[in-house]
Protein backbone atom coordinates (compact mmCIF):
# COMPACT_ATOMS: atom_id res chain seq x y z
CA UNK A 1 0.00 0.00 0.00
CA UNK A 2 1.27 3.44 -0.93
CA UNK A 3 0.59 4.94 2.48
CA UNK A 4 2.67 2.39 4.37
CA UNK A 5 5.32 2.55 1.64
CA UNK A 6 5.60 6.27 2.31
CA UNK A 7 6.01 5.68 6.05
CA UNK A 8 8.61 3.00 5.25
CA UNK A 9 10.49 5.50 3.10
CA UNK A 10 10.54 7.98 5.99
CA UNK A 11 11.86 5.32 8.34
CA UNK A 12 14.57 4.20 5.90
CA UNK A 13 15.63 7.80 5.33
CA UNK A 14 15.93 8.48 9.06
CA UNK A 15 17.79 5.18 9.62
CA UNK A 16 20.37 6.17 7.03
CA UNK A 17 20.67 9.62 8.59
CA UNK A 18 20.62 8.22 12.12
CA UNK A 19 22.52 11.21 13.44
CA UNK A 20 19.41 13.41 13.07
CA UNK A 21 17.40 11.37 15.57
CA UNK A 22 20.38 11.15 17.87
CA UNK A 23 20.83 14.94 17.77
CA UNK A 24 17.21 15.44 18.80
CA UNK A 25 17.59 13.04 21.73
CA UNK A 26 20.84 14.66 22.75
CA UNK A 27 19.22 18.10 22.70
CA UNK A 28 16.36 16.76 24.85
CA UNK A 29 18.71 15.35 27.49
CA UNK A 30 21.11 18.30 27.43
CA UNK A 31 18.40 20.95 27.64
CA UNK A 32 16.68 19.12 30.51
CA UNK A 33 19.93 18.73 32.42
CA UNK A 34 20.50 22.49 32.28
CA UNK A 35 17.61 23.02 34.71
CA UNK A 36 19.19 21.35 37.76
CA UNK A 37 22.37 23.32 37.03
CA UNK A 38 20.49 26.63 36.80
CA UNK A 39 17.95 26.11 39.59
CA UNK A 40 20.21 24.23 41.98
CA UNK A 41 19.99 20.51 42.72
CA UNK A 42 17.50 20.76 45.64
CA UNK A 43 15.37 17.57 45.24
CA UNK A 44 12.16 19.25 46.43
CA UNK A 45 12.25 21.94 43.76
CA UNK A 46 13.24 19.53 41.01
CA UNK A 47 10.54 16.99 41.93
CA UNK A 48 7.89 19.69 41.67
CA UNK A 49 8.96 20.97 38.28
CA UNK A 50 10.21 17.71 36.71
CA UNK A 51 7.07 17.12 34.56
CA UNK A 52 7.21 20.70 33.32
CA UNK A 53 10.90 20.44 32.40
CA UNK A 54 10.37 17.16 30.55
CA UNK A 55 7.38 18.57 28.69
CA UNK A 56 8.96 21.86 27.65
CA UNK A 57 12.19 20.26 26.49
CA UNK A 58 10.31 17.48 24.65
CA UNK A 59 8.20 20.13 22.90
CA UNK A 60 11.28 22.09 21.83
CA UNK A 61 13.13 18.94 20.79
CA UNK A 62 10.26 17.75 18.62
CA UNK A 63 10.41 21.07 16.73
CA UNK A 64 14.04 20.53 15.70
CA UNK A 65 13.59 18.08 12.80
CA UNK A 66 10.47 19.84 11.42
CA UNK A 67 12.59 22.23 9.40
CA UNK A 68 13.71 19.37 7.14
CA UNK A 69 10.45 17.40 7.23
CA UNK A 70 9.39 18.56 3.78
CA UNK A 71 12.42 20.70 2.95
CA UNK A 72 14.56 18.09 1.17
CA UNK A 73 11.58 16.65 -0.74
CA UNK A 74 10.53 20.16 -1.76
CA UNK A 75 13.96 21.08 -3.06
CA UNK A 76 14.71 17.94 -5.08
CA UNK A 77 11.21 17.63 -6.50
CA UNK A 78 10.19 14.44 -4.65
CA UNK A 79 7.28 16.33 -3.14
CA UNK A 80 5.74 16.88 -6.58
CA UNK A 81 6.03 13.15 -7.24
CA UNK A 82 4.53 12.28 -3.84
CA UNK A 83 1.55 14.51 -4.56
CA UNK A 84 1.18 12.92 -8.01
CA UNK A 85 1.34 9.40 -6.54
CA UNK A 86 -2.44 9.21 -6.31
CA UNK A 87 -2.51 9.62 -2.55
CA UNK A 88 -4.50 12.66 -1.36
CA UNK A 89 -2.23 15.46 -0.14
CA UNK A 90 -3.67 15.01 3.35
CA UNK A 91 -2.62 11.34 3.36
CA UNK A 92 0.92 12.33 2.32
CA UNK A 93 0.95 14.77 5.25
CA UNK A 94 -0.42 12.13 7.62
CA UNK A 95 2.29 9.69 6.54
CA UNK A 96 4.91 12.38 7.14
CA UNK A 97 3.45 13.07 10.59
CA UNK A 98 3.51 9.35 11.40
CA UNK A 99 7.13 9.20 10.25
CA UNK A 100 8.01 12.21 12.37
CA UNK A 101 6.43 10.64 15.44
CA UNK A 102 8.15 7.29 14.89
CA UNK A 103 11.61 8.83 14.57
CA UNK A 104 11.21 11.71 17.05
CA UNK A 105 8.22 11.28 19.36
CA UNK A 106 8.79 7.62 20.14
CA UNK A 107 12.52 7.94 21.01
CA UNK A 108 11.69 11.00 23.15
CA UNK A 109 9.08 8.92 24.94
CA UNK A 110 11.56 6.12 25.57
CA UNK A 111 14.19 8.40 27.05
CA UNK A 112 11.74 10.58 29.02
CA UNK A 113 11.38 7.94 31.74
CA UNK A 114 15.05 7.81 32.80
CA UNK A 115 15.31 11.60 32.41
CA UNK A 116 12.31 12.25 34.67
CA UNK A 117 13.75 9.84 37.24
CA UNK A 118 17.04 11.74 37.18
CA UNK A 119 15.08 14.92 37.88
CA UNK A 120 13.57 13.20 40.92
CA UNK A 121 10.02 12.54 39.70
CA UNK A 122 8.10 10.15 41.99
CA UNK A 123 7.98 6.67 40.39
CA UNK A 124 4.21 6.64 40.91
CA UNK A 125 3.82 9.72 38.70
CA UNK A 126 5.91 8.27 35.88
CA UNK A 127 3.18 6.26 34.08
CA UNK A 128 0.95 9.32 33.97
CA UNK A 129 3.76 11.48 32.57
CA UNK A 130 4.50 8.89 29.89
CA UNK A 131 0.84 8.42 29.00
CA UNK A 132 0.48 12.18 28.62
CA UNK A 133 3.67 12.42 26.61
CA UNK A 134 2.51 9.58 24.37
CA UNK A 135 -0.69 11.42 23.49
CA UNK A 136 1.02 14.79 23.45
CA UNK A 137 3.90 13.91 21.14
CA UNK A 138 1.36 12.56 18.64
CA UNK A 139 -0.43 15.94 18.67
CA UNK A 140 2.90 17.77 18.42
CA UNK A 141 3.87 15.69 15.38
CA UNK A 142 0.53 16.50 13.71
CA UNK A 143 0.72 20.22 14.55
CA UNK A 144 4.37 20.35 13.55
CA UNK A 145 3.63 18.71 10.20
CA UNK A 146 0.95 21.32 9.50
CA UNK A 147 3.37 24.09 10.52
CA UNK A 148 6.20 22.66 8.40
CA UNK A 149 3.91 22.46 5.37
CA UNK A 150 2.72 26.05 5.91
CA UNK A 151 6.22 27.58 6.05
CA UNK A 152 7.48 25.50 3.12
CA UNK A 153 9.31 27.83 0.74
CA UNK A 154 9.31 30.81 3.12
CA UNK A 155 12.40 32.87 3.79
CA UNK A 156 13.80 31.97 7.23
CA UNK A 157 11.24 29.16 7.48
CA UNK A 158 13.24 27.50 10.21
CA UNK A 159 12.92 30.56 12.47
CA UNK A 160 9.29 31.12 11.56
CA UNK A 161 8.18 27.56 12.28
CA UNK A 162 8.48 27.63 16.11
CA UNK A 163 6.74 31.03 16.17
CA UNK A 164 3.71 29.46 14.49
CA UNK A 165 3.67 26.05 16.19
CA UNK A 166 4.45 27.04 19.79
CA UNK A 167 1.31 29.15 20.41
CA UNK A 168 -0.83 26.34 18.97
CA UNK A 169 0.97 23.78 21.14
CA UNK A 170 0.21 25.59 24.41
CA UNK A 171 -2.99 23.57 25.22
CA UNK A 172 -1.04 20.31 24.83
CA UNK A 173 1.63 21.61 27.18
CA UNK A 174 -0.91 22.82 29.74
CA UNK A 175 -2.86 19.56 29.90
CA UNK A 176 0.17 17.31 29.50
CA UNK A 177 2.25 18.87 32.25
CA UNK A 178 -0.92 19.39 34.29
CA UNK A 179 -1.77 15.68 34.15
CA UNK A 180 1.62 14.71 35.55
CA UNK A 181 1.42 17.31 38.33
CA UNK A 182 -2.23 16.86 39.33
CA UNK A 183 -3.52 14.42 41.92
CA UNK A 184 -6.12 12.88 39.58
CA UNK A 185 -4.81 12.99 36.01
CA UNK A 186 -7.89 11.48 34.36
CA UNK A 187 -9.48 14.75 33.20
CA UNK A 188 -6.27 16.18 31.76
CA UNK A 189 -5.49 12.94 29.92
CA UNK A 190 -9.00 12.87 28.47
CA UNK A 191 -8.52 16.47 27.30
CA UNK A 192 -5.25 15.44 25.63
CA UNK A 193 -7.03 12.56 23.93
CA UNK A 194 -9.76 14.93 22.77
CA UNK A 195 -7.17 17.32 21.32
CA UNK A 196 -5.56 14.37 19.55
CA UNK A 197 -8.94 13.29 18.16
CA UNK A 198 -9.47 16.79 16.75
CA UNK A 199 -5.92 17.18 15.43
CA UNK A 200 -5.83 13.78 13.74
CA UNK A 201 -8.18 14.72 10.88
CA UNK A 202 -7.74 18.51 10.85
CA UNK A 203 -3.95 18.90 10.87
CA UNK A 204 -3.33 16.61 7.85
CA UNK A 205 -6.12 18.44 5.96
CA UNK A 206 -4.48 21.80 6.65
CA UNK A 207 -1.03 20.42 5.88
CA UNK A 208 -2.32 18.89 2.65
CA UNK A 209 -3.79 22.22 1.53
CA UNK A 210 -0.50 23.94 2.33
CA UNK A 211 1.49 21.29 0.43
CA UNK A 212 -0.68 21.73 -2.65
CA UNK A 213 -0.21 25.51 -2.40
CA UNK A 214 3.56 25.02 -2.08
CA UNK A 215 3.96 23.00 -5.30
CA UNK A 216 1.49 25.09 -7.34
Amino acid sequence: MRFSALIGRELRLSLRHGGDTLAVLLFFVLAASLFPLALGPAPGVLRAIAPGIVWVTALLASLLPLDRLFGADFEDGSLDLLLLSGLPAAAVALAKAAGHWLVTGLPLLLIAGPLATMLGLRPAALPVLLAGLGLGTLVLSLLGTAGAAIVLGARRGGVLLPLLVLPLATPVLIFGAGAAAAGSPRAALLYLAAILAAALPLCPLAAGAALRAAVE
Partner: protein, 278 residues
Protein backbone atom coordinates in the same frame (compact mmCIF):
# COMPACT_ATOMS: atom_id res chain seq x y z
CA UNK B 1 -34.00 31.16 11.72
CA UNK B 2 -33.76 27.50 10.53
CA UNK B 3 -33.63 28.79 6.92
CA UNK B 4 -30.70 31.05 7.75
CA UNK B 5 -28.93 28.16 9.47
CA UNK B 6 -29.58 26.04 6.39
CA UNK B 7 -27.91 28.65 4.15
CA UNK B 8 -24.92 28.85 6.48
CA UNK B 9 -24.66 25.05 6.47
CA UNK B 10 -24.77 24.96 2.66
CA UNK B 11 -22.10 27.66 2.38
CA UNK B 12 -19.85 25.84 4.86
CA UNK B 13 -20.40 22.50 3.12
CA UNK B 14 -19.65 23.93 -0.33
CA UNK B 15 -16.58 25.62 1.05
CA UNK B 16 -15.41 22.39 2.62
CA UNK B 17 -15.98 20.39 -0.57
CA UNK B 18 -14.12 22.92 -2.68
CA UNK B 19 -11.35 23.23 -0.10
CA UNK B 20 -10.75 19.49 0.04
CA UNK B 21 -11.19 18.82 -3.69
CA UNK B 22 -8.08 16.87 -4.71
CA UNK B 23 -7.77 18.35 -8.20
CA UNK B 24 -6.60 21.98 -8.51
CA UNK B 25 -9.11 23.56 -10.85
CA UNK B 26 -10.76 27.00 -10.90
CA UNK B 27 -13.37 26.99 -8.16
CA UNK B 28 -16.96 27.27 -9.40
CA UNK B 29 -18.24 30.72 -8.54
CA UNK B 30 -21.51 30.15 -6.76
CA UNK B 31 -21.35 31.93 -3.41
CA UNK B 32 -18.15 33.85 -4.01
CA UNK B 33 -19.17 34.76 -7.56
CA UNK B 34 -21.20 37.77 -6.56
CA UNK B 35 -18.33 39.00 -4.41
CA UNK B 36 -15.91 38.77 -7.30
CA UNK B 37 -17.40 42.01 -8.64
CA UNK B 38 -15.37 43.80 -5.96
CA UNK B 39 -12.18 42.15 -7.13
CA UNK B 40 -11.93 44.86 -9.77
CA UNK B 41 -9.43 47.24 -8.16
CA UNK B 42 -10.89 50.34 -9.80
CA UNK B 43 -14.38 49.54 -8.55
CA UNK B 44 -13.07 48.72 -5.09
CA UNK B 45 -11.12 52.00 -4.85
CA UNK B 46 -14.15 54.02 -5.94
CA UNK B 47 -16.53 52.27 -3.53
CA UNK B 48 -14.18 52.17 -0.56
CA UNK B 49 -13.25 55.82 -1.10
CA UNK B 50 -16.90 56.67 -0.66
CA UNK B 51 -17.35 54.39 2.38
CA UNK B 52 -14.15 55.34 4.23
CA UNK B 53 -15.25 58.77 5.58
CA UNK B 54 -18.47 57.16 6.87
CA UNK B 55 -16.36 54.73 8.89
CA UNK B 56 -13.59 57.09 9.99
CA UNK B 57 -15.53 60.15 11.18
CA UNK B 58 -18.34 58.40 13.10
CA UNK B 59 -15.70 56.06 14.50
CA UNK B 60 -13.55 58.93 15.76
CA UNK B 61 -16.55 60.84 17.15
CA UNK B 62 -18.09 57.81 18.87
CA UNK B 63 -14.75 56.74 20.35
CA UNK B 64 -14.11 60.25 21.67
CA UNK B 65 -17.66 60.52 23.02
CA UNK B 66 -17.55 57.10 24.69
CA UNK B 67 -14.15 57.76 26.26
CA UNK B 68 -15.01 61.28 27.49
CA UNK B 69 -18.30 59.99 28.93
CA UNK B 70 -16.53 57.03 30.50
CA UNK B 71 -13.55 58.97 31.85
CA UNK B 72 -15.32 62.11 33.08
CA UNK B 73 -19.06 61.65 33.48
CA UNK B 74 -19.76 58.02 34.38
CA UNK B 75 -19.88 57.11 38.08
CA UNK B 76 -16.89 55.51 39.83
CA UNK B 77 -17.30 51.88 40.89
CA UNK B 78 -18.39 51.25 44.49
CA UNK B 79 -15.49 48.82 44.98
CA UNK B 80 -12.82 49.83 42.49
CA UNK B 81 -13.31 53.60 42.58
CA UNK B 82 -11.85 55.53 39.68
CA UNK B 83 -9.78 52.57 38.41
CA UNK B 84 -12.89 51.14 36.80
CA UNK B 85 -12.56 53.71 34.00
CA UNK B 86 -9.91 51.50 32.36
CA UNK B 87 -12.95 49.41 31.42
CA UNK B 88 -13.85 51.86 28.65
CA UNK B 89 -10.56 51.14 26.84
CA UNK B 90 -9.99 47.54 27.90
CA UNK B 91 -13.32 45.98 26.94
CA UNK B 92 -13.64 47.61 23.47
CA UNK B 93 -10.01 46.66 22.73
CA UNK B 94 -10.66 43.06 23.86
CA UNK B 95 -13.82 42.95 21.76
CA UNK B 96 -11.92 44.14 18.68
CA UNK B 97 -9.10 41.66 19.35
CA UNK B 98 -11.56 38.74 19.06
CA UNK B 99 -13.78 40.26 16.38
CA UNK B 100 -10.72 41.19 14.34
CA UNK B 101 -9.52 37.59 14.44
CA UNK B 102 -12.99 36.40 13.41
CA UNK B 103 -12.75 38.82 10.47
CA UNK B 104 -9.29 37.48 9.67
CA UNK B 105 -10.65 33.91 9.70
CA UNK B 106 -13.57 34.82 7.41
CA UNK B 107 -11.25 36.65 5.00
CA UNK B 108 -8.95 33.62 5.05
CA UNK B 109 -11.85 31.30 4.23
CA UNK B 110 -12.75 33.47 1.23
CA UNK B 111 -9.13 33.64 0.18
CA UNK B 112 -8.65 29.85 0.38
CA UNK B 113 -11.96 28.64 -1.00
CA UNK B 114 -12.86 31.25 -3.59
CA UNK B 115 -9.39 32.68 -4.22
CA UNK B 116 -10.78 36.17 -3.82
CA UNK B 117 -7.90 38.62 -4.41
CA UNK B 118 -9.41 41.21 -2.10
CA UNK B 119 -9.78 38.66 0.70
CA UNK B 120 -6.04 37.89 0.36
CA UNK B 121 -5.19 41.53 0.87
CA UNK B 122 -7.80 41.99 3.61
CA UNK B 123 -6.33 39.12 5.65
CA UNK B 124 -2.84 40.57 5.27
CA UNK B 125 -4.06 44.02 6.37
CA UNK B 126 -6.32 42.91 9.25
CA UNK B 127 -3.65 41.04 11.20
CA UNK B 128 -1.32 43.98 12.05
CA UNK B 129 -4.31 46.09 13.14
CA UNK B 130 -5.71 43.21 15.18
CA UNK B 131 -2.32 42.69 16.80
CA UNK B 132 -2.31 46.37 17.77
CA UNK B 133 -5.74 46.17 19.40
CA UNK B 134 -4.76 42.94 21.18
CA UNK B 135 -1.66 44.67 22.53
CA UNK B 136 -3.85 47.55 23.73
CA UNK B 137 -6.13 45.02 25.46
CA UNK B 138 -3.21 43.26 27.16
CA UNK B 139 -1.52 46.49 28.27
CA UNK B 140 -4.71 48.12 29.57
CA UNK B 141 -5.62 44.89 31.35
CA UNK B 142 -2.20 44.75 32.94
CA UNK B 143 -2.47 48.38 34.11
CA UNK B 144 -5.88 47.52 35.56
CA UNK B 145 -4.63 44.37 37.22
CA UNK B 146 -1.84 46.12 39.09
CA UNK B 147 -4.11 48.15 41.43
CA UNK B 148 -7.08 45.75 41.56
CA UNK B 149 -5.51 42.26 41.62
CA UNK B 150 -2.19 43.41 43.07
CA UNK B 151 -0.28 41.95 40.12
CA UNK B 152 0.58 43.02 36.58
CA UNK B 153 0.08 39.57 35.16
CA UNK B 154 -1.30 36.18 36.17
CA UNK B 155 -1.18 33.02 34.08
CA UNK B 156 -4.92 32.75 34.21
CA UNK B 157 -6.89 31.13 31.37
CA UNK B 158 -8.31 34.37 29.92
CA UNK B 159 -4.98 36.21 29.97
CA UNK B 160 -3.08 33.25 28.56
CA UNK B 161 -5.55 32.63 25.74
CA UNK B 162 -5.49 36.32 24.74
CA UNK B 163 -1.68 36.23 24.83
CA UNK B 164 -1.82 33.21 22.51
CA UNK B 165 -4.15 35.23 20.26
CA UNK B 166 -1.56 38.01 20.20
CA UNK B 167 1.12 35.51 19.14
CA UNK B 168 -1.19 34.08 16.47
CA UNK B 169 -1.72 37.58 15.05
CA UNK B 170 2.04 38.25 15.04
CA UNK B 171 2.75 34.85 13.48
CA UNK B 172 0.28 35.66 10.70
CA UNK B 173 1.86 39.09 10.17
CA UNK B 174 5.32 37.55 9.81
CA UNK B 175 4.22 34.53 7.77
CA UNK B 176 2.28 36.47 5.11
CA UNK B 177 5.32 38.63 4.44
CA UNK B 178 7.88 35.79 4.50
CA UNK B 179 7.42 34.54 0.93
CA UNK B 180 9.01 35.94 -2.20
CA UNK B 181 5.81 35.11 -4.07
CA UNK B 182 3.02 37.04 -2.31
CA UNK B 183 0.38 34.53 -3.46
CA UNK B 184 2.15 31.80 -1.47
CA UNK B 185 2.15 34.05 1.57
CA UNK B 186 -1.60 34.62 1.33
CA UNK B 187 -2.30 30.85 1.05
CA UNK B 188 -0.02 29.96 3.96
CA UNK B 189 -1.39 32.80 6.10
CA UNK B 190 -4.97 31.77 5.38
CA UNK B 191 -4.35 28.18 6.49
CA UNK B 192 -2.63 29.38 9.66
CA UNK B 193 -5.43 31.84 10.45
CA UNK B 194 -8.05 29.09 10.12
CA UNK B 195 -6.10 26.72 12.39
CA UNK B 196 -5.69 29.54 14.94
CA UNK B 197 -9.43 30.20 14.99
CA UNK B 198 -9.76 27.39 17.59
CA UNK B 199 -8.44 29.94 20.10
CA UNK B 200 -11.54 32.15 19.77
CA UNK B 201 -14.03 29.87 21.58
CA UNK B 202 -11.32 29.11 24.16
CA UNK B 203 -10.99 32.85 24.88
CA UNK B 204 -14.74 33.31 25.09
CA UNK B 205 -15.39 30.40 27.45
CA UNK B 206 -12.13 30.64 29.41
CA UNK B 207 -13.76 32.63 32.22
CA UNK B 208 -16.51 30.01 32.57
CA UNK B 209 -14.37 26.87 32.28
CA UNK B 210 -11.62 28.04 34.61
CA UNK B 211 -12.72 30.17 37.53
CA UNK B 212 -9.68 32.31 38.27
CA UNK B 213 -8.78 35.98 38.73
CA UNK B 214 -10.32 37.40 35.58
CA UNK B 215 -14.02 38.06 36.12
CA UNK B 216 -16.80 36.52 34.03
CA UNK B 217 -18.73 38.26 31.28
CA UNK B 218 -20.85 41.17 32.48
CA UNK B 219 -22.58 41.91 29.20
CA UNK B 220 -23.82 39.54 26.57
CA UNK B 221 -25.79 39.66 23.34
CA UNK B 222 -28.52 37.54 24.93
CA UNK B 223 -29.87 38.18 28.39
CA UNK B 224 -29.71 41.23 30.64
CA UNK B 225 -26.55 43.18 31.39
CA UNK B 226 -24.97 43.03 34.83
CA UNK B 227 -23.47 46.45 34.25
CA UNK B 228 -25.39 49.51 35.47
CA UNK B 229 -26.90 51.61 32.67
CA UNK B 230 -24.70 54.68 33.35
CA UNK B 231 -21.63 52.53 32.75
CA UNK B 232 -23.15 50.41 29.97
CA UNK B 233 -23.92 53.33 27.63
CA UNK B 234 -20.41 54.82 27.42
CA UNK B 235 -19.02 51.28 27.07
CA UNK B 236 -21.34 50.45 24.18
CA UNK B 237 -20.60 53.77 22.45
CA UNK B 238 -16.85 53.29 22.84
CA UNK B 239 -17.15 49.70 21.56
CA UNK B 240 -19.06 50.84 18.48
CA UNK B 241 -16.48 53.60 17.98
CA UNK B 242 -13.58 51.13 18.26
CA UNK B 243 -15.32 48.83 15.76
CA UNK B 244 -15.74 51.63 13.21
CA UNK B 245 -12.17 52.84 13.76
CA UNK B 246 -10.90 49.29 13.24
CA UNK B 247 -12.90 48.98 10.02
CA UNK B 248 -11.67 52.41 8.87
CA UNK B 249 -8.00 51.56 9.49
CA UNK B 250 -8.36 48.23 7.67
CA UNK B 251 -10.15 49.91 4.73
CA UNK B 252 -7.50 52.61 4.49
CA UNK B 253 -4.72 50.00 4.62
CA UNK B 254 -6.55 47.93 2.02
CA UNK B 255 -6.80 50.95 -0.30
CA UNK B 256 -3.10 51.63 0.18
CA UNK B 257 -2.30 47.99 -0.61
CA UNK B 258 -4.39 48.04 -3.80
CA UNK B 259 -2.73 51.29 -4.91
CA UNK B 260 0.69 49.91 -4.05
CA UNK B 261 0.00 46.89 -6.22
CA UNK B 262 -1.06 49.19 -9.06
CA UNK B 263 2.09 51.30 -8.75
CA UNK B 264 4.24 48.19 -8.78
CA UNK B 265 2.49 46.90 -11.93
CA UNK B 266 2.88 50.33 -13.54
CA UNK B 267 6.59 50.56 -12.69
CA UNK B 268 7.13 47.04 -13.96
CA UNK B 269 5.42 47.71 -17.29
CA UNK B 270 7.37 50.96 -17.64
CA UNK B 271 10.64 49.12 -16.97
CA UNK B 272 9.71 46.48 -19.52
CA UNK B 273 8.85 49.16 -22.09
CA UNK B 274 12.20 50.87 -21.46
CA UNK B 275 13.92 47.53 -21.95
CA UNK B 276 12.20 47.06 -25.33
CA UNK B 277 13.26 50.57 -26.47
CA UNK B 278 16.84 49.98 -25.36
Amino acid sequence: MPRRLQIVAVILYEGFVEFTAPVAEPAPRRVGGRLHRFANPGRFLRLSGRVLPWLAWPGAILTAAGLVWGFAFSPPDWQQGETVRILYVHVPAAWMASAGYAGLAVASLFSLVWRHPLADLAAAEISPVGAGFTALCLVSGSLWGAPEWGTWWVWDARLTSVLVLFFLYLGHVVLVRAFDNPERGYRAGAILALIGAVDLPIIHYSVQWWNTLHQGNSISLIGPSRLYITMLWPLLIASLGFTLVFAAIVTARLRAAVMERRIRALLQSRAEAAEVVA
